[in-house]
């Protein structure tokens, strides 16, 4: 099979799985997950083949193929697929994480466990009572009631992501983007029986929609300006030059304006400030969904979109001083990185900590793109996808183990996601502990060993080398906080002694859940080694900086490697180790939230952003809908006009009837004329023709037709 054809085929298996499950196999849980995992495996296989063919090629630029799709006047709008080095690298991690998450979901949704006693569709499973051979009753985890539906949805989700990655144009990319938006809505609201899940689903959908509208505007602007949406046609030197020199608005060039509009889409999708509010609430979904959304797919898609649009973003960048568009991007990224790291410090829900850390890490990438550190951003995107998927799946494993404990003790008031209810889980769940530790250290940037160190260090080094001090310092502080809250999380969850009975009875999760953890842990360490800078002391040069060489080939001009300097390296060592150490020191003896001195209300309440948005946007919108649109506009003005016409017409009708119809027509013509004279008797005679029998009517009409035909023939034609 040619590589191009293979690329076309990559997104298809998950989509097929979606339709198969929805239409045919949704009654059979085993068949449904076999189809879904099988489809994910096929896509994975295709992606691996494409990836290694790309890697094997010397000076690889792109595999591309396209078809004419829509006639637009004299030309065709073409859609197609294309995998360039960036696409190949992204495809690699997407394929791996997606496959792992699919496999993990089988265990997470308790496949093979009995049906729950009181479970019903739309709510998380509550556990089932089983009786063993000795007649003892046990409460065990029960299987998810909407098991098949879950696999159908994540199949569609994977389809959206693959479509987005293989697209060679903004339009199909946007289609994949929106499919994911829909799926995230469906999956966050997967347990639709919970009001909080419903609200979170709507919030996520509405918030990302704001970004998407701007993105669509950006696409429209781009199409109007260049007449094409295909990447390879936009990112030519002359097109970029023209765009960079066309003024748009607010003193931006067309390239900058388009880049900012598209970037707002990313702000929504990748949960950057100020549209970050949906992501923490999205934790209402089942944990594989959180991993899917936060690590592998949707939020990465946002960063991927900016990476794709990088030439546009930097079209009018001369190398001295950031352009307006880049400053905006850099500011939002850096601000988000710091801001959400501060919130993460005060969260107690194990998944929420990770959610805010995701926002923060995405901020790192966005900030890196804003200062032009293309390779560093792509590198961090991929390493982050691996270790964040690992962390989310690990936290899901922890929650799963805790649920086991909750079912054992039967105390349902214990929240299995609250870290203060955990502690000491390292002995109960060793595999989860070690993999989570690896993921957490990678997130903190633990030196040398972990992938997170290399990618985060590269961003800091880039910021430092180009003199972006503000970004450098902000990101360094954020990195310090990252290490701190990660260690806080690990300490509270795994170290020390169990703080509740439930934690004592926690249990390691089945192999379908631990296998993905182990595999992802390998990547969380090993993926860093493909991107070690060449000038790094001792280690630099042992392994070639493959990532830089390979992904750099995506751009027209190969970006130059950053000069090595001790300052950013020292900073990065200091913040990672310092944060980790401080986290351990502070939290090793903390037993309850009351002893935690960082539970500051402002941080706990996420700097009151939800409340502020509620006051600024939600309440006014309700007010506008209720008071203005409904009561005043609809009821008052529009109904008022209609009522007026209705009344006027009734008045005219009444007048006509009373003064004309009843006097003139009824009395005079109808009564006097008809009864006394001819109309009534005549009608009585003639109406007998109307027998109501269709065949007699037809007979008569054909008879007439015949007579007329004969007459016409003889008088006019003969």
């Amino acid at each position: 099979m040619t590589t191009e054809l293979l690329i076309w085929l990559i997104p298809l298996p998950p989509a097929l799985a979606f339709f198969l499950i929805v239409l045919f196999t949704n009654k059979s849980k085993a068949l449904s997950h076999t189809i879904a995992v099988g489809a994910a495996f096929l896509s994975w296989l295709g992606s691996m083949v494409v990836f290694f063919r790309a890697v094997g090629e010397e000076h690889f630029t792109a595999f591309a193929s396209s078809i004419p799709w829509l006639p637009t006047g004299d030309t065709w709008f073409r859609i197609g697929v294309s995998i360039d080095p960036l696409g190949a690298a992204v495809l690699f991690f997407v394929a791996w994480t997606v496959l792992m998450i699919f496999l993990y979901s089988v265990g997470y949704h308790n496949f093979g466990q009995p049906k729950g006693d009181h479970d019903r569709a739309g709510l998380p499973p509550h556990g089932a009572t089983v009786t063993d051979e000795h007649g003892h009753k046990h409460t065990v985890l029960s299987v998810e009631p909407m098991y098949s539906r879950f696999f159908a949805f994540i199949g569609l989700f994977a389809f959206g992501m693959y479509t987005l990655v293989v697209s060679d144009n903004l339009l199909t990319m946007f289609v994949g983007w929106e499919i994911m938006g829909l799926c995230s809505y469906l999956l966050i609201g997967f347990w639709y029986g919970k009001p909080s899940a419903r609200a979170a689903a709507i919030k996520a959908f509405m918030t990302t929609r704001i970004g998407d509208v701007f993105m669509l505007l950006g696409i429209a602007f781009l199409y109007k300006a260049t007449g094409t949406l295909t990447f390879s046609e936009i990112f030519t030197e002359e097109t970029l030059h023209v765009l960079a020199n066309t003024p748009a608005f607010f003193g931006l060039s067309a390239a900058g304006a388009i880049a900012i509009l598209l970037f707002i889409g990313t702000v929504g999708k990748s949960a950057q400030w100020p549209l970050h509010v949906w992501l923490p609430d999205a934790m209402e979904g089942p944990t594989p969904v959180s991993a899917m959304i936060h690590a592998a797919t949707m939020v990465s898609a946002g960063v991927y979109a900016v990476l794709r649009m990088f030439p546009l973003l930097t079209a009018d960048f001369t190398g001295h001083g950031l352009t307006t568009a880049m400053s905006v991007v850099a500011f939002i990224g850096a601000f988000t990185a710091l801001f959400s790291a501060t919130i993460a410090v005060a969260q107690n829900d194990i998944k929420r900590v990770l959610a805010y850390s995701t926002i923060s890490q995405l901020g790192f990438m966005i900030a890196a793109l804003g200062i032009g550190a293309y390779i560093a951003a792509a590198f961090h995107l991929i390493t982050h996808a691996f270790f964040k998927a690992l962390l989310f799946l690990g936290s899901g494993s922890v929650i799963h183990g805790m649920e086991h404990g909750v079912l054992h003790t039967g105390n349902h008031h214990v929240d299995p996601q609250d870290m203060f209810n955990m502690g000491g889980l390292r002995k109960k769940m060793p595999i989860t502990f070690w993999t989570f530790l690896i993921g957490g250290f990678a997130l903190s940037g633990f030196p040398i060993l972990t992938a997170g160190f290399w990618s985060k260090d590269e961003i800091l080094a880039d910021a430092f080398a180009h003199g972006h001090w503000a970004v450098f310092i902000t990101l360094a502080v954020a990195a310090f906080l990252t290490a701190f809250y990660t260690m806080r999380q690990i300490t509270l969850t795994f170290l020390g002694e169990p703080r509740t009975k439930e934690a004592e009875h926690a249990h390691e999760t089945p192999w379908t859940m631990t296998t993905p953890l182990v595999i992802l842990a390998v990547f969380a360490i090993g993926y860093g080694w493909v991107g070690i800078p060449e000038h790094f002391p001792v280690l630099g040069g042992i392994l070639p900086n493959w990532f830089h060489e390979f992904v750099g080939g995506t751009l027209l001009e190969h970006p130059e490697a950053v000069e090595f300097s001790w300052i950013p390296l020292g900073t990065s060592l200091l913040v990672a180790l310092g944060g980790l150490g401080l986290g351990w020191l502070v939290y090793r003896n903390v037993k309850s939230p009351a002893e935690d001195r960082l539970q500051i209300p402002a941080l706990k309440n996420k700097w009151y952003f939800d409340e502020a948005y509620d006051f600024l946007f939600v309440k006014p919108a309700y007010w506008f809908a209720e008071t203005f649109t409904y009561k005043w506009m609809d009821k008052g003005v529009i109904d008022g006009i209609l009522h007026f016409f209705g009344k006027a017409a009734a008045w005219i009708g009444d007048t006509l009837r009373n003064y004309i119809d009843s006097i003139l027509i009824n009395d005079w013509i109808a009564d006097k004329l008809s009864h006394q004279w001819t109309i009534h008797p005549a009608a009585r005679a003639v109406r007998r023709v109307q027998t109501g029998r269709i065949q007699q009517y037809m007979l008569a009409s054909i008879g007439v037709l015949f007579v007329v035909g004969v007459l016409v023939y003889y008088f006019f034609m003969a």
């Binding site: 109307q690 109501g692 029998r693 269709i694 065949q695 037809m698």
Partner: protein, 102 residues
């Protein structure tokens, strides 16, 4: 070879038989059967004229196809009506359906 007249006379005969069926049968479904005969007679004519006229203009066959489509639509709706009437009034005799009479 077959002269065109054979087809036309056959079609005329078929049409007349169908017409008789439409006019004379009591059962509403039988009336529809008669309609089908008439439509087929028309189709024979259309195709014959295509074959004996200009082959290049394919209109005769296209018309026949359209007649097929119309026949299918007519049968679907007609039989639907018959069944609906049968359900309400328990009869399919056309003569008994005379609600529209004076």
């Amino acid at each position: 070879m077959i002269p065109l007249s054979w087809y036309l006379i056959l079609a005329a005969a078929l049409f007349s038989v169908g017409l008789f069926g439409v006019l004379a049968r009591k059962n509403a479904i039988a009336i529809l059967l008669g309609v089908e005969l008439m439509l087929n007679a028309v189709n024979i004519n259309l195709v014959a004229f295509w074959r004996y006229g200009s082959l290049a203009s394919i209109a005769g066959q296209v018309f026949a196809i359209i007649v097929f489509a119309v026949a299918a639509a007519e049968v679907a709706v007609g039989l639907g009506l018959v069944i609906s009437v049968y359900r309400r009034r328990n009869t399919v005799v056309a003569d008994e359906l005379d609600l529209m009479k004076w």
